[in-house]
Symmetry: C2
Subunit: 128 residues, 2 copies
């Protein structure tokens, strides 16, 4: 497979509900996590829902990070797609888990790229 990169889909459970509803804090956390793993942020857009919940997408030169939060479930869906092999997206998962105070998260890792019959999938369950 001619892999372009790694896409991590992360289900963050048992998070701090207030943190999940704080747009400014989430934006800072996602951008910091991106930068810490060596990504170059090239744009972002975040939105606060009423009565609660935040959506944020961060474009990076190496693809993207996205977050969608459901404070009522103490849950956030995050995905981190990094092309190339020079970045360490799993480190971003750890940083975001710490920020959200998530005690339980599951990672699904998918290798993406051209001319792959179906993306290779590997599921990893992590207990923080």
């Amino acid at each position: 497979m001619n892999a372009v990169g790694t896409h991590l889909l992360v289900e963050f459970q048992a998070c701090n509900a207030e943190t999940l509803n704080d747009l400014k804090g989430l934006r800072t956390a996602l951008i910091s996590a991106a930068e810490e793993v060596g990504a170059t942020v090239i744009g972002d857009t975040f939105h606060q829902f009423s009565p609660h919940g935040v959506t944020g997408v961060v474009a990076i030169a190496e693809s993207h990070l996205c977050i969608h939060t459901w404070p009522e479930y103490a849950y956030a869906a995050v995905d981190i797609f990094t092309c190339g092999d020079s970045l360490t997206p799993h480190l971003a998962v750890e940083r975001i888990a710490d920020y959200l105070e998530s005690t339980d998260h599951q990672v699904t890792e998918i290798r993406r790229g051209p001319r792959s019959p179906v993306a290779t999938k590997a599921a990893v369950t992590a207990q923080a």
Copy 2:
């Protein structure tokens, strides 16, 4: 499983390379596809790479659409995450396939949500 929504990861192969390098056209196509499936666009950010390639992320009230293109491989990585069951994200896949003139694409479908031990995965290979 307490599903929040459906995340489609699509590998578009054998696309029109010029289309893959046209930021303005890709932005219009993604936003149109989002609106056609009933999503509400709440923000977007697109970036043109040199010498070629485009990254775009579109935040919707129901989650997001992202595209990353590699004209040199005639390839685009797209993902469409829609929460709830009222939208029809597979229709967006078809619209984007038509726009990219992709003759071959693979879809990986992942159900996402809180308290799922690992996201349910179903791979679908489509030959346009």
